[in-house]
């Protein structure tokens, strides 16, 4: 009766099908972006370089002269094979441009959320188990401070301290992990800490609330009535149960960072998705916007899928229901 691998596979399969359906919906919407924008996208893209020949050339190259259904199917077929069109602005394939930015964005998101968890889990658990005491008050006030501080200011503070005063870390820039792991690590710390601290402040409050709720539940009383050590009661009974609702928040925050934290990227000259999207919007580079929206949606879906699988692994009621 235990959660058989088969039940988990069926669960995973269903989630994958759902995700595919949602992704198809996103494709319809992103396709519609270009059709719905006011004015002529080709004309807008050309701007001051406009002349009749350039217009005709770009129109044919982009396929916007073909009938709508044909455009749609070639867009879908292209997207499925990784061809998201050509950026109006730079003339390079959108897929290439997006993939260039992906490692920086993923680094920032993963390291940032990792740091956030490193701070939020112990702080939230510690405060939750000491409700109403001094430790709880300290954590609550600090996290309130973290929630209220704007991220660019947090970034500037960190730069001033670690790169200005102490001179330990570079103030900006990005080196790919594969090229120089040491350089990558030194450069990722400050931007990741900036997004991580803000995320940690929010997460701490959720962890604290979840721990508080679980700590008062009947099964924790049962665990105590068995004479188990406080460590076992906390780790096995309180924390595991408290983490179930926290997983959702972690997933949302991870996806938010991954889809671009524009201000932090600007402050640290970090070549992430956020800046790419910003520049594409400013330049009305529709193919680029379409591609970025699709990628961001896919990342959200992937992260949600991972969160769902984590849920199922942790909670037998989801796995076996």
């Amino acid at each position: 009766m235990r959660g058989s691998p088969r039940a988990l596979l069926v669960f995973l399969g269903r989630r994958l099908v759902y995700s595919a359906v949602v992704l198809l919906g996103v494709m319809v919407v992103t396709f519609a972006i270009v059709q719905l924008v006011p004015g002529d996208p080709i004309r807008l893209a050309l701007g001051t370089r406009y002349n009749a020949e350039a217009y005709q050339a770009l129109l044919e190259a982009s396929g916007l002269d073909r009938p709508l259904p044909e455009q749609f199917f070639s867009y879908i077929a292209g997207a499925l094979t990784g061809d998201l069109g050509v950026s109006f602005r730079s003339g390079q394939p959108v897929t290439v441009l997006l993939l260039e930015r992906l490692p920086a964005t993923v680094s920032l998101a993963v390291v940032g959320i990792g740091l956030a968890l490193l701070i939020a889990l112990p702080a939230g658990i510690w405060a939750g188990l000491r409700e109403g005491r001094v430790a709880d008050a300290i954590v609550r006030v600090t996290s309130q401070f973290g929630v209220s501080v704007p991220d660019f200011w947090m970034g500037l503070l960190l730069i001033t301290l670690f790169s200005g005063i102490l001179g330990w870390l570079p103030s900006s820039g990005y080196t790919p992990l594969a090229e120089d792991p040491g350089g990558w690590a030194r450069q990722v710390v400050l931007p990741a800490l900036t997004v991580g601290l803000v995320a940690a402040a929010i997460l701490t409050r959720y962890v604290r609330a979840a721990v508080l709720e679980v700590a008062h539940s009947g099964f924790v009383r049962t665990a105590k009535s068995k004479g188990l050590s406080p460590k076992v009661v906390t780790m096995r009974h309180v924390v595991r149960n408290a983490l179930v609702p926290v997983l959702t928040i972690v997933g949302i925050q991870l996806a938010t960072i991954a889809s671009g934290v524009i201000v932090v990227e600007v402050v640290f000259a970090w070549p992430g998705l956020g800046r790419l999207v910003y520049e594409a919007v400013a330049a009305r580079d529709y193919a680029m916007i379409q591609g970025a929206v699709l990628l961001i949606a896919a990342m959200f879906l992937l992260i949600n899928l991972i969160v769902d699988v984590c849920y199922a692994l942790v909670d037998p009621r989801i796995r076996l229901s």
Binding site: M1, R2, A7, V10, F11, R14, G132, S217, G218, F219, R221, T222, A223, K224, S225, K226, G227, L228, S229, P230, V232, R236, H237, R240, N241, V244, V314, D315, P316, R317, L320, S321
Partner: protein, 550 residues
């Protein structure tokens, strides 16, 4: 009020009689308010002490404080509580260090709590939850502990224990979960078992099984038991001696038979009188050929359920037919999951249903006009969750008047009349739910339901979460209202005794089917179906077991 034993059952009076648990002059206070004042008792092997009282009387506080498991901020405990275990020796529990308490919790003292659906960890297998204390106290390996867990599961009567070890709590029924709790409590063979309302959340038939189980295990192992209950009927089935607590004070402490036969304190007499029992007075008879108000034919409800491997359905109500005559009460009785509440939900349009249900000539199923909805009103079980905590009682009662535009321009007056109907002072209109007791809240809920001037009032376990004395008062009120206003009730309850007191006709439900549907007098006089007889037999008898066995 010393802790002398009046041995009525004679159990435990063996040569090796020894005190397992001795509590002297126990006081508990929170802040400046005293919660428990001077409780003393002592308990020998294989004996059971019952602690009885209404909610808020300090029953659980007494036992949690005496065993060092009280976890209330600002609570102060004084007095003495000595537990003796053959292996661990004697241990003073009041003022003991956390480490000393951990040594006896789960080892010398086992605990079973009220609600088995919340007292088991949903994320851990049964094996893990049973073996934890064996590993902590006995230093057993996973493998030996698993063997022991297997023995325990079969000892508490779980079928297929081998397979169930790897199961999670949500895969068990309520009764099975409570059996698992008992297995956990008895894992280390404790000298003392604390059972805090262990059967309150269970059906009456399951309750009877759990009582028998604990008694059997107690006899095999010589465990001393402290059994807390608000129900003197249950206490009568398990206890040798009883402590009656009222507002933290011991008002009576004697052998169970003596207590039931010769209650000294008025509060004890009140508790005994308030106990719902079969054979109480039925409601006044009504015209047997009266007008049929509600006619239900072949009511059928299915719930779709989806599982990872496909879709299925639960057949919650299967082709159930009944009628309710105007001015009468139809009692609907059955265990949890029998479909009682689903019938109510189908009639009020909360779940879609097949078949037909006609109220005074109009069909209730499918899309119905709002004016028809008004003719049915419902009172729910839990008066704590069925009133909005931020809405004053008067506004809660007045809301249906506004929604259905009744008594326009004289809402305040009407609210006052309704409060008066349920015997609450009109000043209560400005109170918030947290300023009301459980019984008062349920009166407000009844007034709110009556505001609609409904033809049919559906009472879904409306008195189930009230103390016995409060329940008796609310039932009196309902009977008076029926007489006064010629109301028609559908009275849904799991408790046969109160169904008998309230009903003219009774519908017995089991697993979605109507197993018996007859006039109440006939049904209770000679139940035709085995299931009805089993339900009646499971009600704790009026006389204590000790008296019946003597």
């Amino acid at each position: 009020m010393s802790g002398g034993w009046g041995l009525d059952g004679g159990a435990g009076a063996s040569a090796e009689a020894q005190t397992v648990f001795s509590v002297q002059n126990l006081h508990v206070s929170i802040g400046r308010s005293p919660i428990v004042e001077g409780v003393s008792f002592s308990l020998e092997r294989e004996q059971t002490l019952g602690i009885v009282g209404e909610s808020g009387s300090g029953k659980s506080m007494t036992v949690l404080a005496a065993t060092g498991l009280l976890d209330a901020p600002g609570a102060r405990v004084s007095g003495s509580a000595l537990v003796h275990d053959d292996r661990l020796g004697s241990q003073q529990l009041v003022g003991a260090s956390r480490r000393a308490l951990r040594r006896v919790h789960g080892d010398a003292i086992g605990f079973v709590f009220q609600d088995p659906s919340t007292s088991l960890n949903p994320l851990l297998t049964l094996e893990r939850q049973i073996t934890e204390s064996l590993e902590a106290h006995r230093g057993m390996t996973r493998r030996t502990a698993r063997t022991r867990a297997l023995e325990l599961l079969s000892a508490v009567g779980i079928p297929d224990p081998e397979m169930r070890l790897d199961v999670y709590p949500h895969q068990l029924s309520g009764g099975q979960r409570q059996r698992v709790m008992i297995a956990i409590a008895l894992a280390c063979d404790p000298a003392l078992l604390i059972a805090d309302e262990p059967t309150t959340a269970l059906d009456v038939t399951t309750q009877a099984q759990i009582i028998d189980l604990v008694r059997d295990l107690q006899a095999q192992r010589g465990t001393a038991v402290v059994w807390i209950s608000h129900d003197l009927g249950v206490i009568g089935q398990v206890a040798d001696e009883v402590i009656v607590l009222q507002q933290g004070q011991v008002v009576e402490q004697r052998g169970i038979v003596d207590l039931v036969d010769r209650p000294q304190h008025p509060y004890t007499r009140e508790l005994l009188a308030a106990r719902p029992k079969l054979g109480g007075s039925p409601p006044p008879p009504v015209d047997a050929a009266g007008e049929v108000l509600l006619d239900v034919q072949d009511l059928d409800v299915r719930f779709a359920v989806s599982t990872p491997t496909g879709r299925g359905h639960v057949h919650a109500v299967q082709q159930v037919s009944f009628q309710v005559r105007r001015g009468t009460t139809l009692g609907v009785v059955g265990e949890s999951g029998s479909g009682k509440s689903t019938i109510a939900n189908a009639l009020t349009g909360l779940v879609p249903a097949g078949g037909s249900a006609v109220l005074g000539g109009q069909s209730l199923l499918g899309r119905v006009p709002r004016a028809l909805r008004r003719r049915l009103a419902m009172v729910f079980q839990d008066p704590f969750s069925s009133l909005d905590p931020r809405v004053r009682a008067g506004d809660a009662i007045g809301e249906p008047l506004r929604v259905h535009r009744l008594h326009a321009g004289r809402h305040r007056e009407r609210v006052r009349e309704l409060l008066d109907l349920v015997h609450l002072p009109s000043a209560f209109a400005t109170r918030f739910p947290h300023e009301l007791s459980g019984g008062q809240r349920q009166r407000v809920s009844i007034a709110r339901a009556l505001a609609l001037e409904p033809d049919l009032l559906i009472l879904d376990e409306a008195t189930a979460s009230l103390d016995a004395s409060i329940q008796a008062q609310v039932l009196d009120l309902l009977r008076d209202l029926q007489q006064e206003l010629e109301l028609t009730y559908m009275f849904i309850a799991h408790d046969l005794a109160i169904v008998q007191q309230m009903s003219h006709d009774v519908l017995v439900m089991q697993k979605g089917r109507a197993v018996e549907y007859r006039p109440a007098a006939e049904l209770f006089g000679a139940p035709a179906e085995a299931y009805t007889r089993a339900l009646m037999a499971a009600i704790p008898p009026d006389r204590p077991r000790a008296a019946l066995e003597a």
